[in-house]
């Protein structure tokens, strides 16, 4: 086994373990913290695939923003600490069985699909993909209009969020 495979296995175990804890842990704040670990595991996966940009996005958006938003949502929810009974019911084994069947079917379908066998094109080593993306985003022949529209969209989201959520102090 290569070092990369060992790192992949450790990451996979941590990611899946964290994901299981997210749904089984009773304390919602703890669940949010486990979710952060899971998202970090996914970020490491992107890193292992040399997807630099996705790694950065995963850390900045998912760990930085989504996790914070989730913790705030938990803090703002009323009666969040009230015991609401067990999180599993009598039919849990049926749901587990169905998930297993679905998972096996998906794996089987993907393994017989021809696209599954294609090897990844090897990136030229001296090309920084983030740099290519950055140049394309602002070049007039590239995506400059969507880039600027994204800014306007974010402005609309910002103003919309403030209009909806901000209560003027009386």
């Amino acid at each position: 086994m290569t070092v990369l495979q060992v790192i992949f296995l450790i990451t996979a175990v941590v990611t899946l373990g964290g994901a299981v804890l997210v749904v089984t842990v009773r304390n919602l704040i703890h669940a949010a913290l486990w979710l952060i670990l899971t998202l970090f595991g996914v970020a490491v996966m992107y890193g292992l695939l040399s997807a630099t940009f996705f790694t950065v996005i995963q850390v900045v958006i998912y760990i930085g923003a989504i996790a914070i938003l989730m913790i705030f949502a938990i803090m703002l929810t009323r009666r969040v600490k009230q015991e609401a009974g067990s999180s599993v019911n009598k039919g849990w084994w049926l749901a587990g069985l169905m998930s297993l069947v679905l998972f096996t079917a998906l794996v089987w379908m993907f393994s017989t699909w021809s696209g599954f066998q294609t090897t990844l094109p090897v990136m030229p080593a001296n090309v920084d993909m983030v740099k290519v993306l950055g140049t394309a985003l602002v070049s007039p022949n590239g995506y400059v209009i969507p880039f600027e529209i994204a800014s306007v969209l974010l402005l609309a989201a910002l103003i919309g969020a403030v209009v909806v959520a901000w209560e003027r102090k009386s």
Partner: protein, 118 residues
């Protein structure tokens, strides 16, 4: 390419060692004579009451919302910043325009009083 990741891996391995050492060294060299009164939890010198898991009202949730928007802005600015040294003047100004549009939003919420601490 992979060597860049090794640095991050080394940081990930080294980072937990520092707080662990800070906790471990006092445990080894500090005198420990605990008694029930010493180990009791206290809060600003007075005895605690009620549960420790309290849900306080997060009045600054609006900051989280605003942060979210500027966090997404980073997604677009990050590749722009990485490619900064190869960009033409026009492309740099495009990025500046992007920021300016969002600065207008910042001024809007500033005037609205959102940035004032409650």
């Amino acid at each position: 390419m992979l060597n860049d990741w090794i640095f991050i891996g080394i940081f990930l391995l080294l980072a937990p060692i520092f707080p662990a050492l800070a906790l471990l060294i006092p445990r080894l060299i500090a005198p420990r004579k605990p008694n029930p009164l010493k180990t009791e939890t206290y809060e600003c010198g007075i005895e605690t009451y009620g549960e420790t898991w309290v849900q306080f009202k997060v009045q600054y949730y609006i900051f989280a919302l605003v942060f979210l928007i500027f966090d997404i802005e980073i997604v677009f600015l990050f590749p722009w910043a990485v490619a900064f040294d190869q960009l033409s003047m026009f492309a740099v100004l495009e990025g500046v325009l992007f920021i300016m549009i969002l600065v207008a939003g910042l001024f809007y919420i500033w005037r609205k009083g959102v940035l004032e601490w409650v």
